[in-house]
């Protein structure tokens, strides 16, 4: 984990309010793996004050480049969206424990389920799974047609289904609806997205091996401030905890309370 000033190589608007940002720097890239995240400082001054946690969407070791994809929602991400190629961003990372690809055997099927802005970290995961011979199926859920991104990129790697809540693109409904309607089968499930989606996955596939990437408001991002803790499942004392920033953001299904 280091702090590096990375150069913006490109910044593209790829869906409604969604940006793809490519960052370059000699060091951090080589420490990173799928499912980890970065803590980005979006401005020089003290407003906004805190860094923003953003997942790594793609790692390009040869070019010393990382890609992140984020939605310009609040103050910080909106300021980040204004930055242009050539400018620098202070990056703390890579942070957290990402998705383990060892959990799925070559030849087995992994289903990767993403909801909205939870989709990005699945891209590097998919690249890595494909590399070791795992068959990947992607189910990507978005609010509507304007929100869809990276469909072709995922399609290049494996079967890809897109669902939108309002039915303006792909199948209408949730990612769970799609999995059930299409009768998709799999050995492992990897998911990232809003908590209700993660809960639904946990409930729908209790017997499956699965990994969920969680979100929480963070302070330090490195395990020191105790902002991002969650309870551990089946802990009657309710004092056991996991830190999402360092123990996660990826947890095995059933490990922590959602």
């Amino acid at each position: 984990m280091i702090v590096e000033n990375m150069e913006i190589i490109s910044q593209r608007n790829i869906a409604s309010k969604v940006y793809e940002l490519v960052l370059k720097g000699p060091e951090l890239v080589h420490l990173a793996s799928q499912g980890q995240f970065l803590h980005l400082k979006v401005s020089e001054g003290t407003d906004p004050l805190l860094r923003r946690p953003i997942s790594i969407a793609q790692i390009n070791q040869e070019k010393d480049e990382l890609t992140v994809i984020y939605r310009a929602e609040g103050k910080g991400t909106s300021m980040l969206a204004l930055k242009q190629a050539g400018e620098e961003v202070s990056v703390l990372g890579p942070l957290g424990n990402g998705f383990s690809i060892k959990e799925t055997k070559p030849g087995n099927v992994a289903i990767l389920v993403g909801g909205g802005i939870g989709v990005p970290p699945l891209y590097e995961l998919s690249l890595q799974l494909v590399k070791v011979g795992v068959k990947v199926v992607h189910v990507l859920g978005f609010a509507g047609n304007d929100d869809v991104f990276y469909e072709e990129k995922f399609t290049e790697l494996g079967e890809t289904y897109v669902a939108t809540m309002d039915g303006t693109y792909g199948d209408k409904g949730t990612v769970i609806d799609v999995i059930e309607e299409k009768g998709l089968t799999f050995d492992t499930i990897y998911a990232c997205g809003p908590t209700p989606m993660l809960k639904a996955i946990e409930n729908s596939f209790p017997e499956k091996k699965g990994f969920l990437s969680l979100e929480e408001r963070m302070g330090c991002g490195i395990g020191a401030c105790f902002a991002c803790v969650c309870n551990v499942k089946n802990d009657p004392t309710k004092t056991a905890y996991k830190k999402i920033c360092t123990d996660g953001p990826v947890f095995a299904i059933g490990e922590v309370e959602l």
């Binding site: 004050l49 805190l50 020191a224 105790f226």
Partner: protein, 303 residues
């Protein structure tokens, strides 16, 4: 020549910069980034008698140039802090300040008595100013009689000097400070966080699950400077200053206000290397100000 060393009751510091309690855990995370022995001291996270999970999440919210936190004193509890965290810290050449918290007077006494016996604990910081717990915490820090009584009792049992950490959420900070000094406090540490709130306008409820939270960061610096300026002229015990420090210049501003050492909190989240960076940068600022030793600046704005 060491231009930064500071001697305070119980604390022989290489330099006046320590991470603030609650913003540095028990040091393990930052130890991966730099050698903790470079720090002037370490104020560890508040310790209570029992293991605490703290408040529900979200526990932090951002504000303009600041943040709110409502961690709620999560910590492994007295026994584990002594057996694990403090023992782990022994390998570093750095004095530890143990931040003591509780819900009842007896809790404070128990924690203070035991933790002050740990080998590397050189001082206690009596946390009577945590705004994030229903019982204890700030309730002890807003009434001079209560603060005085608690300080006396803790002094009786502590093996090391006691610094009382003051809450800024009071009408008269000088009155609080004097009450603690008269009760035997060896030093003061100030300020803890200002009680604040932010509301999520979409959800129509506070962002923090706990509702209220403690405001820290650069936003509160002028309040901290003001209070230290007032208190340092009214008491003769030293002050560890904190509240929004993120640069070497900020440290100087706190010294001129009347602090004899400083703690850096929120800034660690923005830049995990902030403490060693400030320490390395201080000599440059002392040069600019033509000052040989940082201690010459203590109270310099009013002396």
């Amino acid at each position: 020549m060491n231009r930064l060393n500071i001697e305070l009751p119980g604390l022989s510091m290489k330099n006046p910069v320590m991470p603030a309690s609650g913003c540095f855990g028990f040091g393990q995370e930052y130890a991966k980034l730099y050698d903790l022995s470079r720090l002037g001291a370490i104020a560890i996270k508040a310790t209570t008698v029992e293991t605490r999970f703290g408040n529900p999440t979200p526990r932090v919210a951002e504000t303009s140039s600041g943040m709110l936190n409502a961690i709620g004193l999560q910590n492994p509890g007295l026994e584990k802090v002594i057996a694990n965290e403090l023992v782990w810290l022994e390998k570093y050449d750095v004095p530890i300040i143990a931040n003591v918290a509780g819900s009842k007077v007896e809790d404070y006494i128990l924690v203070a008595e035991q933790i002050s016996k740990a080998k590397n604990v050189h001082a206690l910081e009596l946390n009577i100013s945590c705004p994030n717990v229903k019982e204890g915490g700030m309730a002890f820090g807003t009434n001079p009689e209560v603060a005085s009584e608690l300080t006396k009792l803790v002094k009786q049992v502590s093996d090391v000097p006691v610094y009382v950490k003051l809450s800024p959420n009071v009408t008269d900070i000088v009155e609080m400070a004097i009450a603690c000094e008269e009760a035997g406090a060896d030093g003061l540490s100030m300020i803890n966080t200002l009680l604040g709130m932010r509301i999520d306008i979409k959800k129509r409820q506070p962002i923090l699950a706990n509702g209220f939270g403690g405001l820290s960061g650069p936003a509160v610096k002028p309040v901290a400077i003001r209070m230290i300026h007032q208190v340092s002229q009214a008491v003769s015990i030293p002050i560890i200053g904190m509240g929004g420090i993120s640069t070497a210049e900020d440290v100087i501003e706190f010294f001129l206000a009347g602090a004899s050492a400083v703690a850096v909190g929120t800034a660690n989240f923005v830049d995990p290397f902030v403490c060693p960076n400030i320490i390395d940068d201080l000599p440059r600022v002392l040069d600019e100000l033509k000052v040989d030793h940082i201690s010459e600046l203590i109270g310099g704005s009013w002396k």
